[in-house]
Amino acid sequence: MGTPGPQSPVLVTANYKLSFDALRLCLPGIDAWLLVIDTRGINVWCAAGKGSFSTTEVLQSVQQSRLKEVVSHRELILPQLAATGVAAQAVRKGCGFAVRFGPVRAADLPAFLRNNMQGDESMREVTFSLKERAVLIPVELFLLAKPLLAAIVLVLILSGIGPAIFSPAAALNRGMILLAATGLGIIGGAVLAPLLLPWLPCRQFWCKGLVSGAPCALSAWLLIAPQLGLAEQLALVLWVETVSSYLAMNFTGSTPFTSPSGVEYEMRRGLPAQLAAACLALALWLAGPFI
């Protein structure tokens, strides 16, 4: 970046597009060397957690780039979130470069560099604002595309089962209703839950999903259920809540504050509940045409 010389700082980053772009965009006017670690296109924090942004990778990159011949100082600036995978003391031992952890966000780098490489508390704390939560929603929905395709086929087949063994008309009619309910469940768990996260009651995400799924279940019951019998109405309400609860629980992987111990704790409670509710919903839906 710019026209760096032997005294210019060395900024280490990942080869994830957004990480790299964030770095480049905040650096106009600054002369620096960029050392890019091959994290197979994964962002800094995830790569650090999974082992591709590691002490070993940093040592290899320093070696391969012959950094010692490029700069006269012996300091590397790493993103703070790389600390999960990189041990500062081990890097120093391995290649002689001292590691300084920079701010969490690249946008704070200019201030960090100006401030004699000191980061204040706000630069070092991870946040999860509404905007940061909202940008994750498209990813969540995109990851649902393939399972949803499989679900559509299953829903149509199951919905056609009735007294006439299999009815294509019923498959379509009832299938559409069940798919609409699925869509409402997705809104509850993959859209409302992320957006309303800090305001949803309950600490466990599967419970938060039940809360954000409640208006969706109610909508299903009011809009699409009236044409159905009681068993099927109950099936739909259960299904919307199950889908919402499950997807909200899945959102734990996208947050910067859920501990694996906590997620395991809630999965041991949430999964059996979701499984039971799903089975009951399925049974009621299948029984509907026979009642």
């Binding site: 703070q80 600390a83 995978g85 992987g253 504050f257 501990s259 694996p260 111990s261 997620v263 999965m267």
Partner: protein, 95 residues
């Protein structure tokens, strides 16, 4: 982290104050700012805010901090459970 509390009493973070040499590495790297060095030594201000990322343990030169690091992701944990159940790696997770 402001406004976000997860589940209390489950975190595996352990600090050995006697081993600590007050280098300050852990204080710098914690993404939720729960570690600090006081006159009494290393303090954990709110252990339930710990997300077990492992940055502190990783950067402790004397191994005074231990934590079972991992990914706080339901899909990752489920994948691990299923793979363990089946006995081999049938699922690879999404990232």
């Amino acid at each position: 982290m402001r406004g976000y509390r997860y589940i209390d009493g489950v975190v595996t973070l352990e600090v050995d104050r006697l081993r600590c040499v007050a280098c300050g590495n852990c204080v710098v790297v914690c993404p939720h700012r729960i570690l600090s060095l006081t006159a009494e030594g290393l303090e954990v201000s709110d252990r339930d805010l710990c997300m077990e990322c492992g940055a502190c343990a990783r950067n402790c030169p004397v191994e005074a901090i231990t934590v079972s690091p991992g990914v706080g992701c339901a899909v990752a944990i489920m994948t691990a459970w299923i793979n363990r159940l089946v006995g081999r790696k049938v699922l690879s997770g999404c990232c």
